[in-house]
Symmetry: C2
Subunit: 315 residues, 2 copies
Amino acid sequence: MMTNTQADKLFADRLAETARLVEAELGRHLDDRQRDHEIARPARLMAAMRHGALGGGKRLRPFLLIETAGLFGVSAAAALPAAAAIELIHCYSLIHDDLPSMDNDDLRRGQPTVHRAFDEATAILAGDGLLTLAFEVLAEPASSPDPAIRAELVLALARASGLAGMVGGQMLDLEAEGRFAEVRRTAPPWPGDVRRLQAMKTGALLAAAVDMGAVLGKASRGQRLSLSTFGQSLGACFQVADDILDVEASAEAMGKATAKDADAGKATLVAAIGLEAARQERDRLSADAAGALRRFGPEADILRVAARFAAERTS
Amino acid sequence: MMTNTQADKLFADRLAETARLVEAELGRHLDDRQRDHEIARPARLMAAMRHGALGGGKRLRPFLLIETAGLFGVSAAAALPAAAAIELIHCYSLIHDDLPSMDNDDLRRGQPTVHRAFDEATAILAGDGLLTLAFEVLAEPASSPDPAIRAELVLALARASGLAGMVGGQMLDLEAEGRFAEVRRTAPPWPGDVRRLQAMKTGALLAAAVDMGAVLGKASRGQRLSLSTFGQSLGACFQVADDILDVEASAEAMGKATAKDADAGKATLVAAIGLEAARQERDRLSADAAGALRRFGPEADILRVAARFAAERTS
């Protein structure tokens, strides 16, 4: 049994190693010289796609996909195309979410957002291009020699990232801001609404990372169900922890004991149920995630650390 | 042998029948009551997606896909999911192209564009949702019982609609407008640049419709190559004919014999090579398309009419 410190070190090393692999794989897909296409791609669009996809991020979704596939003996190299595909979806969603008509953000990870570094039209097309490339990468033989697995990966990723998943969740988030309502909502949001929004906006893609790993590993029905519970609990835990971090950071900055009132009207779980109840929910979800791994042996330890990390992370 | 009048009647009937089938299929995919999902989809987003996808259009891409698959004995019903998928891509591209930061259009087919009927953020998400749904539909078993075919359909559609296809072509079109240049171009565009732009922006998806039909029909390598020539010639012909129509319409409206000068700086083939040479290219492309069908028997007559229609259409 590893100590927590040893486990944390292993987790950090594996996360960093995955990030390096994913960066190289994404770079390869976004480089004309390394792709065998008859038609050269427009340079400005390619540059914008590279700006939005390369050079940053924890690459948490690829990490979850690769580690889950690894449970079944699939190598990181074999899982890498699918890992890159899910990261392409994550990257496109950040570009579109940052747009002036959405969250209107100028910076991401200290760099100008794509529409600031280029322009709005180019940013929309860069997002569309990355979204489409994700499915191209999944459908290519390199993502799995078995076409049935390729088709199942496409299905899992599309369901998690579309109307019933990530895109739908972003829509609910805009609605929760009161953007389309006649009057802005002032009462706290309903907990059930927040949980649904978060399950769709961020949970679905995190859960899909785990599910796609299970698909690549040809998990049995029972194993896939357990991993689905793991992925959904982890995704929810990650998002509640994010809400709590936001409040703690602003509480520190603003010298308030609790930011519940300040956040009323924002669709966070802290706003919905309060800070203390949110902390309990976060820890319960982390325990649920770890519990779902019970049927797996020590080879799932790294995913157990991920469940702890989701709750304990400080950034 | 049919007369041209009989053939035109058959073509119009089949096109209308396909449009009815596709409308119903798209409606089914954009209706919570008819889909088995645990999570209900956000109503506003669903409404925007329906606004952008239903109620109009010639449905030319689904028609080409269904008729090509029909060459190999695949029923229209069996080809319908793939036909709906390619139309979803076409519809998403119209929504995003109409956005204020792109072509800034208020009307499409006499109706408010999606960002006018709803708002810009909703229109971006509706486009993202339709794009993602296209791949979900293709990856579902209903699109083909054979997962290898499903994966190949995904690959063909993704390649035609991404960076090296439709999305890249839209980028080139914005660049050709001089939008990102220091000085606006005043000389006519290079013919090769226009042909490349058009092959990507509209040709690739029309050719993909034919190619996906060939994939569904399990066409031999030789058959698929002939159909690829047909699809590419048809797509190019369609676009040149469009350029010519634009000029003839504006020539009529403006009382000019030729609109070549008026169009200098616009990336059309008429601007690049002049009206008469463009007409010759259109007719040659139509003949090329028909010629590529030589190996197929009378069952390809409807596609032959399509090749003639692409050149002769008046709207």
